[in-house]
């Protein structure tokens, strides 16, 4: 739906990674396969591959983050890149420096890739459009719009547990309206061809025209979980209670919290996911978060391999051991 796909180069190869929307299934599968080949790196004695040696990657975070930033940092280091972490708090912008000024200053240091998190939707697109040629932009979360690397690590986790996507019913529970994670997950799941995507939340947390996203909307948790193979719980921002979107944590947990009882409605082998950080007792019961169905901690460790795959593919189009042409073939018609 994006008018010009600035994520791909003229050959249809990945140049930036800004949103899942508009990327072809073949490309997503390639990324998951590449991630699979990196998953072993962490078990080696020397946890490094030399793919991005001599490259400089900047983690440019305009919003606080621990997990996403550290997994990006680890991923970059395992690819042998030099990493610079820059946390731009309100201070720089308060001094009047614009986003573009910040970008230009960093570009002057000859960086090869920016991993960007920003509170405004579309910030990563904006930076990609104005970045110098040859500089890759990876979106690490922009406003409510997209968090595509998180979605890819979730797909990786789902594939590892469930195999083929086409038979799966996936239920996403929680604040869809404000969630960039949910938007990217929904695009990834529909591109990968799952059977059904459901979202469960009260009306105040469902965006307008949800059918534009291709999901089925439920307002009752057990109905939404019925026979689901994958359950994704979203973090509930406590601010929502102030903005008249919800009356109380208590009522939310009563109606939409994932408890053992609610989980009974899902398929017996359903997995439970959460992008973290968890609000125990608000959106999920501790016994489930720590229980056998939970794959929450695996999501975190998969994050490193998936981000290694995305960074290496965006910076050099051919994966290890594969000629570049194999990648571009399937992509050309999508360019």
């Amino acid at each position: 739906m994006i008018k010009e796909n600035i994520q791909l180069d003229a050959q249809g190869r990945l140049r930036h990674f800004l949103t899942i929307e508009g990327l072809k299934r073949e490309l997503l599968v390639e990324l998951l396969d590449t991630a699979e080949s990196f998953a072993g790196v962490a078990e080696q004695a020397v946890k490094k591959v030399p793919l991005l040696r001599g490259k400089t990657i900047v983690n440019l975070f305009f919003e606080p983050s621990t997990r996403t930033r550290t997994t990006f940092e680890l991923a970059a280091k395992r690819l042998s890149a030099d990493v610079l972490n820059i946390n731009v708090t309100a201070s720089a912008t308060r001094k009047g420096e614009t986003l573009l000024d910040t970008l230009r200053n960093l570009e002057a240091m000859h960086c090869d890739m920016f991993v960007v998190r920003h509170p405004d939707s579309g910030a990563a697109h904006f930076i990609a459009r104005h970045a110098a040629p040859g500089v890759s932009i990876i979106n690490a979360g922009d406003g409510r719009h997209a968090h595509p690397t998180q979605a890819m690590l979730d797909m990786f986790t789902i594939r590892r547990h469930k195999g083929a996507f086409h038979k799966l019913t996936v239920t996403i529970v929680g604040d869809i309206l404000h969630s960039r994670v949910a938007r990217s997950q929904i695009h990834a799941l529909s591109t990968l061809g799952v059977k059904e995507i459901r979202v469960v939340a009260p009306r105040t947390l469902i965006p307008a025209c949800p059918e534009a996203l291709g999901v089925h909307v439920y307002h009752e948790l057990r109905a939404g979980l019925r026979d689901a193979d994958v359950i994704i719980m979203l973090r509930l921002q406590k601010e929502r209670m102030r903005g008249a979107a919800l009356p109380s944590e208590h009522e939310y947990y009563q109606l939409f919290g994932l408890t053992e009882e609610a989980l009974e409605a899902a398929a017996p082998d359903a997995i439970v996911m959460h992008p973290g950080p968890i609000n125990r007792g608000v959106e999920i019961d501790s016994s489930i978060a720590d229980g056998p169905r939970s794959v929450i901690l695996q999501q975190v460790s998969h994050g490193i391999a998936v981000r290694m795959a995305i960074m290496s593919r965006a910076m050099q189009p051919s994966p290890p051991g594969q000629p570049a042409t194999a990648v571009s073939e399937g992509m050309e018609e999508g360019a």
Binding site: L99, S121, G122, G143, R144, A146, P207, A208, E211, A212
Partner: protein, 447 residues
């Protein structure tokens, strides 16, 4: 009697029901006669309007000129020059300057500076509340005496419906028109795009259609009691336009306008986070755009305005929601409205009425007509000329328009203000560079 003869053109003067090939005679800054020359007339200057349309100078109900206070964006001189290039001879300026137009002195300053520039007549709106603070009424009588065509709080919210009621009552005392920007600030909730499929996909904070309809409903309920003339500055939803149509049918003294861009663009133009399409009220659905066209054709919407908001380049260089809303619209008002004729929405006289006599009536001005004795404000345009909008061809200091590189039909050839030629496009062969790249040959801004 000496003056200008404009010969051979198709004269369209909707206020007087004129649509015919006539000569127009201008003397002493006024229309001297249509058709036959007045007795003793001697043409000092001849304008050959063969193949051109001669109509009243356009009246734009909403154009921000940024002066005083934001001269880095634009000045009265730069924007009135742009108005002349767009065939606009009268423009109405909202009160949100710095300082705000809440005193006679600021209103007088704006008029004086515009007069000194000499390209177009500028009519300010006075602030509805002091400093646009939304609670204390401005000195409306003084503002009216200083030449304000009405009072408005623009997008600045009023503290409560009670303030709105009091402001309407006070304005009605002096027969002042209240210009309302119908957007409920609480429902708009700092959104930046139409709440719908596109805002959902892009994750942009949405402004629901109800933000507009609720504000219109509140205002209409008060107008019904008070009887004040209210003009709705900009409508963006089909539903609100329909509500105005019904209110008009019920005899309420309300008028409404729509921007040229809301008649052509939709929420889909925001895809790609195109900040040039960040406008307020937001671009809405295809259905809304069609509804606005429908009610414009039916007359429930009286006028098309530019909602001109020039910005410096930096104001649009940020992630979508962080950019300043608004587009530079003076120089596209006429061709975008003529496009509605091409699209079969309006015939040419009806389109011109929505740019001339209708907005003039809303402002209470003797403008927008070609009746003998009226000020000779004229727009002479080639209805068949195609041209491509280029940033370097724009006279406005603001180059922020999503219509760049659009091929537009209908090009202003001459603009006259009180009998003076304030803009003239040299006749050029259609293949030449001038016709291709817009009119401006003397300045080349960096792209």
């Amino acid at each position: 009697m000496k003056g200008i003869r404009i010969s051979g053109g198709r004269v369209v003067d909707p206020a007087n029901g004129v649509d015919a090939h006539l000569d127009v005679y201008v003397a002493e800054g006024r229309i001297a006669a249509l058709g036959a020359p007045p007795p003793g007339f001697r043409a000092e200057q001849e304008i050959d309007a063969t193949g051109l349309v001669v109509c009243p100078g356009l009246v734009d109900l909403r154009a921000h000129c940024r002066e005083p206070g934001q001269e880095h964006k634009a000045t009265l001189a730069s924007e009135t020059r742009a108005a002349a290039a767009g065939g606009i001879t009268t423009l109405c300026m909202p009160p949100d300057t710095d300082p705000v137009v809440d005193s006679a002195a600021v209103a007088a300053l704006i008029r004086r500076r515009a007069e000194r520039a000499g390209y177009a007549r500028v009519v300010p709106l006075g602030a509805l509340t002091r400093g646009l603070d939304g609670c204390r009424l401005s000195e409306m009588h003084a503002l009216k005496s200083a030449g304000c065509a009405g009072v408005s709080n623009d997008f600045h919210p009023l503290e409560s419906p009670l303030v709105l009621r009091r402001a309407m009552e006070y304005a009605a005392t002096f027969d002042l028109t209240v210009f309302l920007m119908p957007q409920d600030p609480h429902l708009a909730n700092e959104g930046c795009a139409h709440e719908g499929a596109v805002s959902t996909r892009l994750g942009l904070p949405g402004i629901p259609a109800a933000a507009e309809t609720v504000a219109v409903a509140t205002a209409l309920a008060l107008v019904e009691e008070i009887g004040v003339h209210v003009h709705f500055c900009l409508l963006s939803t089909a539903r609100a336009a329909q509500m105005i149509a019904r209110a008009r049918h019920d005899g309420l003294p309300v008028t409404a306008a729509v921007s040229a861009h809301h008649l052509h663009l939709t929420e889909l133009d925001v895809l790609d986070f195109d900040s040039r399409c960040h406008v307020l009220p937001p671009l809405r659905t295809q259905r809304d755009r069609n509804g606005l066209r429908h009610w414009l054709a039916r007359g429930a919407l009286d006028a098309v305005c530019s909602d001109h908001q020039p910005h410096e380049a930096d104001a649009k260089l940020a992630p979508f929601s962080a950019t300043a809303p608004g587009l530079s619209g003076l120089e596209t008002l006429l061709p975008l409205t003529l496009r509605l004729v091409e699209d079969g929405v309006l015939d040419l006289p009806a389109a011109i009425a929505r740019l001339t006599c209708n907005p003039a009536r809303i402002l209470g001005l003797a403008a927008g007509t070609l009746g003998p004795g009226q000020p000779a404000d004229l727009c002479i345009f080639d209805p068949d000329a195609y041209w491509t909008l280029k940033a370097e061809g724009l006279y406005s200091q603001g180059k922020n328009t999503p219509f760049l590189d659009w091929e537009l039909k209908g090009q202003v050839r001459y603009t006259l203000l009180e009998g003076r030629v304030v803009h003239a496009l040299p006749a050029a062969a259609p293949e030449s560079a001038a016709a291709e790249t817009g009119q401006r040959q003397d300045a080349h801004e960096p792209a």
